[in-house]
């Protein structure tokens, strides 16, 4: 291990860590608002990459079918529950929100596809298509059990992940995809070659964590989301709707997962089942941050990326073992919840 090898590994680790950081921040965001540990997050990222690849190949992506099916289910559930409560006046609004809006998105994609749009437009389309999936899943799966324990929500979340992987195979097929690089630039930092893609990933991670920090601390909506997380009943008494807060959190989270999916699509081959490991490693990062702090989650995710990179050099067969073994000391230290020192996080 020489200095320049270490430098290359560090850069590679930071790039991987940045992708994990985006997903980790999204995971923490959804967890703090809805108490759901959203395991299918990585799947959402992978589906975004697959959607973008389909758009690049001028095909209608499988995501369209997924969104339409979910929209119909969510709308039916919402209408039935409103009818049971006797709130018929709210039905048109529910149909508009759960069925018409997603269908409008699908329509936009379908129409724009006819004009062979350029790359930036395709990226926006892919993100638009992905955004409705998480809120719709929330309505179908998590809303009916919103007040359940964290453990139950986690169990349902794992089941949902397996359902999504199956759907992914159905809609996207078994082959992996890779998209065109967003930029072919490259820079030299202290004699180490760094690709423009790496810089982009890093910038996106930093910008998003910064924005979220500002959003939660300085806007009313952000504060409302935090209030919901602390005490659902209390928040309701203050005139905050927990359901709406959840939807906003899922939308924001989807956006982050989508962006990370778009960023990794050019540097790695993505399969319909690639999301799980990505989500799991991001989850390890989020745990380091205690599932509560955004900077903590981002730092943890960068740590996971860097450790993974060095582990792959030292002992490639045991790489994932090393990464997941990290969880044990972190969990011990978290559960003892005594004073903590930053050195432990970095090791």
């Amino acid at each position: 291990m020489t200095a320049d090898i270490a430098a290359i590994l560090a850069i590679d680790g930071i790039a991987t860590g940045a992708v994990y950081a985006l997903v980790a921040i999204g995971t923490v965001l959804i967890f703090t608002v809805t108490r759901v540990i959203f395991i299918p997050f990585g799947d959402i990222a992978a589906f975004t990459a697959l959607t973008l690849a389909a758009l690049d190949a001028r095909q209608l992506p499988g995501t369209v079918g997924l969104v339409v099916v979910l929209a119909c289910m969510a709308c039916a559930m919402e209408v039935v529950s409103l009818a049971r409560a006797g709130e018929f006046r709210a039905v048109p609004k529910a149909v508009l929100g759960y069925l018409v809006l997603p269908l409008i998105v699908v329509g936009i994609v379908w129409l724009t596809m006819r004009f062979n749009p350029p790359m930036p437009v395709r990226i926006v389309l892919a993100l638009l298509l992905i955004m409705p999936i998480s809120p719709l899943l929330d309505r179908i799966v998590f809303r009916p059990i919103a007040d359940a324990s964290v453990l139950l929500l986690l169990t349902v979340s794992v089941a949902l992940h397996f359902a999504l992987v199956g759907l992914g195979l159905l809609f996207f097929g078994p082959e992996g995809v890779r998209t065109e690089p967003l930029t072919s630039m490259a820079i030299e930092i202290a004699g180490v070659h760094v690709s423009g893609q790496t810089v982009l990933i890093l910038a996106a991670a930093l910008v998003f964590s910064g924005l979220l920090f500002l959003f939660f601390d300085f806007t009313l909506v952000g504060k409302a989301l935090r209030a919901t997380a602390l005490n659902r009943t209390g928040a309701r008494l203050m005139g905050i709707r927990p359901a709406r807060a959840g939807t906003i959190a899922y939308l924001l989270g989807s956006l982050m997962a989508g962006v990370s999916g778009i960023l990794i699509a050019p540097v790695n081959t993505i399969f319909y089942d690639s999301g799980f490991l990505l989500g799991l490693k991001a989850f390890v990062g989020a745990i380091v941050g205690g599932m509560a702090s955004y900077p903590g989650a981002a730092l943890g995710a960068f740590g996971v990326g860097i450790i993974e990179s060095f582990a792959s050099f030292q002992s490639s067969t045991l790489k994932d073992v090393i990464v997941f073994s990290l969880l044990i000391p972190v969990l011990l230290w978290r559960s003892l919840a005594s004073q903590h020192s930053e050195e432990e996080v970095e090791e």
């Binding site: 090898i5 290359i8 590994l9 195979l169 890779r178 790695n268 081959t269 582990a311 792959s312 490639s316």
Partner: protein
Amino acid sequence: MRKMLSLTALIGGLVAASTAQADITIGFVTSLSGPGASIGIPYGRGIQAAMEYKSEVNGEKIKLIQLDDGSDPSAATRNARKLIEEEKVDLLIGTATAPSTIAMMAVATELKVPMIAVSPVIGQPNPADQWGISVPQPASLLVKVVADRMKRDAMKNIGYIGFSDAWGDLVYNGAKAVETEDGIKVLTNERYARVDTSVTGQILKVLAVRPDAVLIGGSGTQGALPLLALGERGFKGKTYGTVALVNPDFVRVGGKAAEGIQVSAGPVIVAEQLPDNHFAKKLALDFRAAFLKANNVPTTDGFSAYSFDGWRIFTSAAERALKTAKPGTVEFRKAMRDEILNTKELSGVHAVYNFKAGAYHGVDERALVIVRLNNGAWTYEP
């Protein structure tokens, strides 16, 4: 889908049972759904091409019943039983994934029906009670041919990187087996998983031993990942791999980085470039024409060709077995088994086949050629 298929098969079976008794009935199982579908569908198309190529033996019509196993070994077992007990097939052909194929082989052996496997089967059969053979080249042979090519290219120090699974082990052990004192030395054993996002660390380790060449033990699209990383680091040596890499997506994803890689593959991959006196030349071109006619798409893979070769082995054995027994009888099944195991110097599009009791595979080094990727197309390198 599966219900539909089995229903059609059932109705077809009923109709056939009431008309002709003397047809040779073939039960074919493949994976049209599930994770094995990406190779199961080509296997199915290959059988259609084979039917197009030859649909009768000595004037006896061949009846084909196709079922889907959904990439699931237990469904493959059920299919095999159904085909043997209800459809009274004379021979089984199947299937796309190795576990399902092994499961079918067990049923064939138990119910004493000959079987031609189109996936690799691991292990040694009992010569006294062997009912099946396997068409594809075994992994050990794939690697041996590549290693011999490395020797010929005077490569000394070899870096290895492959999947962290059974396939990665097979390729690594195959390369280790041809190490010699003065020749090839395999210096690294780096591994990565199919879902990994980066192999920078492993590639740095490989480059640290200053290899003349790098051997890739991956497969398909994700087999291109080490090549891309090598390209980024400006590696100028040669690269080698096996037929597991050969699919259109590998070429698409690998792009410039995959240029010049040499892999061992069945001759059918480069049919039109083979010399005229090569055993597979005319056959492979006939196969391609039949494939196009049967499926309306050109063939781009090696898997459909295994189905075709399986069909060649079956028809040549059936020609001899028909002299002693009638289709649809226990005697015919036994005669078929004996004649399949008697196959001598039968050329197919992948190999020249010689089977004998006591081994599943019947191919030798003639079954493999070295092909090189030049400007996104595979070219023959004798």
